[in-house]
């Protein structure tokens, strides 16, 4: 970007908010971070980071389809991710990359999803930049309608997470005991996967399909290394997620560094520090 930071926080904040696209990106990014931080904590607790990775790649053709059909890409993302989440959830057991046949099948699905995304983008005949935006994130692409969809999605998903949070922790930590105490473990698992799908769908706008892991899983993983207390961990995960997004967007605005690079580097550094502790 053309603007240089003055390192006067107030003035820089004004610079950041000068353009409409950046207001949109920051607004959507904040909502995304709130949702991703909270969901991410549960993803790590439940050992479902691989499912999150899978859902994000399945989202790539969804974004492309959204553009191709002149809908919002977020709607395409939500449609594909939620469908995939229901598919995974209704199989009855989690995705397990440690299992030979399953990892081959999932690997095939991942490659095929990206190939279909490539097809859609080539049909759309748009610029290369559109592909990059949905693979690696962008700060330019968030429209007013995307912000609205993101806000609605994040509000609904956070509300749902607040409602099911406590039994979900129980069911994640000790499924047998939770089931015996009357917690609907399977229904919760399915509902949670749908929430993961929604988080992935909105997060892709900021960091892209391939880098969602850094925003959705890494904050939760780092938080769990730092504290064993669920409430604190959940809060820490959200704070880290917000920090990654805000810094990533600012770096991308003030410097030529891409947002995806900034977010993944922060995530990687934080995780290394959390592990080293």
């Amino acid at each position: 970007m053309v603007d240089q930071p003055s390192w006067d926080l107030l003035a820089d904040l004004q610079l950041l908010l000068e353009f409409h696209f950046m207001q949109n990106a920051l607004l959507a990014g904040t909502l995304v971070a709130l949702l991703a931080g909270a969901t991410g904590y549960f993803i790590v607790l439940r050992g479902q980071s691989f499912a999150a990775h899978t859902l994000s790649q399945v989202g790539f053709p969804g974004a492309a389809a959204g553009i191709l059909l002149h809908l919002s890409p977020v709607l395409g993302l939500i449609g594909f991710c939620v469908t995939a989440a229901l598919g995974i959830g209704l199989r009855g057991r989690g995705l397990d990359a440690g299992w030979r046949g399953e990892s081959a099948a999932v690997g095939g699905i991942l490659a095929f999803a990206l190939a279909v995304g490539l097809l859609f983008f080539s049909l759309y005949a748009g610029s290369v930049e559109a592909i990059y935006a949905f693979l690696f994130g962008s700060i330019l692409g968030v429209t007013d309608r995307d912000v609205l969809v993101t806000a609605l999605t994040a509000a609904l998903a956070l509300l749902a997470l607040a409602v099911i949070g406590r039994p979900l922790i129980f069911a994640s930590v000790d499924p047998e005991a939770a089931e015996a105490r009357g917690v609907p473990v399977r229904a919760l698992a399915l509902a949670f996967l749908v929430l993961v799908a929604l988080s992935v769908a909105v997060a892709v706008q900021i960091v892209g399909t391939l880098l969602v892991f850094a925003l959705l899983v890494t904050p939760g993983a780092a938080a769990q290394r730092l504290t064993p207390r669920p409430g604190l961990g959940l809060g820490l995960s959200t704070v880290l997620s917000l920090l990654f997004v805000w810094s990533g967007l600012s770096v991308a605005y003030f410097s030529p560094l891409p947002v995806g690079f900034a977010v993944t580097t922060l995530a990687f550094g934080t995780y290394v520090l959390a592990r080293a502790r």
Binding site: W99, R100, G101, E102
Partner: protein, 268 residues
Amino acid sequence: MAADPEPVLSFAAATAELGGRTVWRDVDLEIKAGEFVAVLGPNGAGKTTLIKCVLGLIPLARGRLTVFGRPVQRGSDRVGYLPQRRSFDADLRIRGVDLVRLGLDGADWGLPLPFARAKSARVAEVIRLVGAEAYARRPIGELSGGEQQRLLIAQALVAGARMLLLDEPLESLDLNNQQAISSLIRRICREHQVTVLLVAHDVNPILPFLDRVVYVAQGQVVSGRPEAVITTETLTRLYGAPVEVLRTSDGRLVVVGQQEPVSYHGHG
């Protein structure tokens, strides 16, 4: 017992160390050809280390170990090995017969020649010996634990093993399969004069067949005849927990109580 007076396996003043810690020291032990030997001892006492020394996978820290009269050597055709707790995932799409064949020439470079009749015949021979003809051509992952175990014994034998090192081969098998596999091992031992060293937790299924018991505990390895070792006093001392040896009405020995984590009462 065997006609061959030379010991097939001989430890002399042998000491094994793992990561600087002495596992057992000053072991003197001789096993004769065709003996059926049980290796007993509590968890972590060094039974698997003993087996791995005989395979040449872990070098001795001190002392001497000869196998078939020669210094121990890795990858010997005369020693067959069945590692501990090995079961194949349901999605491993490799046939049993291929697994047995790998025991014969799996360490060679390149691809196998398609018309190596002698090798195929040898593979068929050991599969017949263990009675696995019916399912040897099915994927190994689809077979039951007992069926897998038979094929693995065939694999251990296929290169012409004169000694079998079996690390807990009866674990995780049901009672019927435990008896079937132990009588198969005994038949191989008796009819083909193959020496058997069998690591076991539960000694009951093999108790009637044993020529000798080697027990590994508290840094020591001691051997003796089953009647001498399988007694309430010796086993209780060996496991550091109360164990009782009973004699049934038809004269068989039964070992009870060795799994129970009860507190120590001085002596059993």
